[in-house]
Symmetry: C2
């Protein structure tokens, strides 16, 4: 998911200069008679959108377990009359809405996977217009919104100049490490063919434009030792103690607020029984920064602290049966980069937000767009409208109150139609 972009306060001069034609292009789309028809269709269709959000949310889609939700979404894409509806070798499902044939190929995607492991209760609870369930905003609402956009274009009889590829992709979250995007852009049937990319990720008003990829480095850290009986072998070095110390040291690291730099201990594990000194304790950690330099600094500090903790444990307790070793395995590496503020893609997105009565904010995050951006393909991440919060927590929620919900979709539709051209 993408969240909380940092607002860039200074608009560059170049961006200011690029603004005028984008506003004019957006205005042209919005004044097209078919656009009003499309918005009327979205309005009439809103209950179905909400139903489909619930349906998709209640199909569990843990990391590496998106198959069932992918099956359902594949059928939905097929039911929406797209061409070349297929699942690629990585598990992405997609279909093409053909344009007049002379335009670029635009891909717009929402991710199928959630961060929640198998067995998480994904039943949607409803309180008025507020819907609560793990994954509902990140990123299930977007999957349903893409379908609603197709229906609205169809209802209004809109033919675009460009072809538009609608994608439900896998592996955006966690250890997925953007595997869906890596396949789409580097191995799948559309390799080398996508000209522009939009990721719709997370519920939110629709005013956030993420045009930069926050780089991340992820590690699985494993402390290994001899293990032994908790009573009989008491006094031997313990991987659990080394890891506790490592976490305590890591949690004390000071990172800059700007460029925003973060770190996390996500999952921890290891040990065989309460009365055994573990022979292995492990944790998965995530580090991110808007700045590649800050990320590298943080990564070096992290590596040093892990080794220090292991060494400290080896000094404190007996190594008679063996020492604590620490293994640092890189499990995630998301490149950073940006689609420039003065690019046509970012400019049109900003104009579309403004035209919907909002003020765009520009930011960096770590999303599916990191991959096309790293390949030099213009890409941004937007949100799917409405309101939402507590992503990645069990009390994740969205609000589907119609006015705010439609405003965000409107902005996304205007962006897509302006880029794709209405014949």
């Amino acid at each position: 998911m993408r969240i909380a972009p940092v607002v860039t306060l200074l608009l560059s001069l170049a961006a200011a200069a690029a603004q005028a034609p984008a506003d004019a292009d957006v205005a042209r789309v919005r004044s097209h008679p078919k656009f009003a028809q499309a918005m009327a269709a979205l309005d009439a269709d809103h209950d179905r959108l909400v139903r489909e959000i619930v349906t998709l949310t209640e199909i569990p889609a843990p990391p590496f377990g998106e198959r069932a939700r992918g099956d359902a979404y594949l059928e939905m894409l097929r039911a929406h009359g797209l061409a070349n509806v297929e699942r690629d070798a990585e598990g992405n499902v997609m279909g093409l809405r053909r344009g007049a044939g002379s335009g670029p190929l635009i891909a717009i995607a929402a991710h199928l996977d959630t961060v929640f492991p198998e067995g998480t209760d994904v039943t949607v609870k409803r309180d008025g217009t507020r819907l609560m369930a793990p994954g509902i905003g990140d990123d299930t609402r977007s999957l349903a919104v893409l379908l609603a956009m197709i229906r609205a274009m169809d209802a209004a009889g809109i033919q675009t100049t460009a072809d538009i590829l609608f994608v439900g992709d896998v592996g955006e979250e966690g250890l997925g490490d953007l595997r869906g995007m890596k396949h789409l852009f580097q191995k799948g049937p559309y390799t080398g063919r996508i000209d522009l990319f939009i990721s719709m990720d997370g519920a939110g008003a629709g005013d956030d434009i993420t045009h930069g990829g926050v780089g991340s480095r992820r590690y699985r850290v494993t402390f290994k030792g001899p293990g032994g009986h908790s009573y009989g072998a008491f006094g031997l070095v313990s991987p659990a103690f080394a890891m506790g110390l490592a976490i305590a040291k890591f949690s004390d690291v000071i990172v800059p607020r700007s460029p925003k730099t973060t770190f996390n201990v996500g999952v921890v594990g290891g040990g065989t029984s309460v009365n055994s000194i573990p022979f292995e304790s492990w944790m998965e950690i995530d580090m991110r920064s808007e700045s590649p330099v800050e990320l590298q600094t943080l990564e070096r500090t992290f590596q040093r602290l892990m080794r220090e903790a292991a060494e400290e444990e080896n000094r404190l307790r007996s190594t008679a049966q063996g020492r604590i070793d620490v293994d640092l395995k890189l499990i995630g590496d998301r490149p950073s980069g940006e689609t420039p503020r003065d690019s046509r893609l970012v400019q049109v997105a900003a104009a579309a937000v403004r035209a919907s009565g909002m003020q765009p904010t520009f930011g960096y995050s770590s999303t599916d767009s990191n991959i096309p951006i790293s390949l030099g393909i213009p890409a941004i991440t937007i949100d799917s409208g409405g309101r939402g919060g507590r992503a990645h927590s069990l009390d994740e929620w969205i609000d589907v109150e119609k006015t705010a919900s439609l405003r965000g979709i409107e902005s996304a539709l205007v962006l897509l139609l302006t880029l794709a051209g209405v014949s």
Copy 2:
């Protein structure tokens, strides 16, 4: 398992006085012609003993998953011609070798369970007389030794005065919390009927006599917090950070060497994904002491440190979305106590060890005997002969070199026959 008993150097005067009749009783059993026949049978039978150790070791018996090994052992007990071969409601399997009918009921047990989780490779690797596999010494060798003892008594035509109950019990390790013993002595068909209890636990020469139960207190500690996205919600309190700090503090606690007092962080877990701040991180911890007072002191320190760690995390990071709470759940409580050094049971055990040419050592540990001891039933824990090491680690081993292997069994058999009386 039971290991590394502390040698009590001072023999009490009462114990010294009790020594003479025990030595005489042991000498009488050893000079019985049928005893020599039994030892000859054990010698001839040694290869079968080793085969059965391997067979039983290779049937996985994780905590709460002893069923398959219990099935196999039940059939073995039946094949050894015991009476009332049965499995009780908790999963203990047992059978009775009837005596002349006028003696006490003696129970001798080895535990079916290992500390190793499902999926652990339990294939036995062999290098000469050295056998390596998780659980092979603790306590699988003992299960096979009990069968060999039955065969030796049968081969020699020995009838005892007492009835002897042979038991393969469940739940000795870890979270099992002695559930097998609790059932045997407090709920099962033999409740109130067992007069003496011997636990055979762990490979070793056979000179260790554990006559005191080391009390233990075990907790599952759960740190809970609001959770959130690793990047977007960075700065919120983290249960993983709180737990790391808690482990670091706990690992620094100073405990007395004597009375021996220990603590351990065994299993750790929690977290949903690498890029989510966990909403829950947990660990299972074990504390033991020969002294109830020291155990209580350690337990209070532990509880204070857990709360301090949670509070420190709440001070260090944002509690805007919720605070870190810590939940301390008692998951294990083994009583302490002792079978006195001058009791007939301990005296006979010591005399049997001496008669086999070894010097007895007396100690405290946490074993199946804790339960009968806490109920006032004389009980000790002995080992099963041979050599062994690295219990509770993946490189656990035993040595089945015949001389040392038989010496330990001899001592155990003499103990059992002296207590049971040879008709």
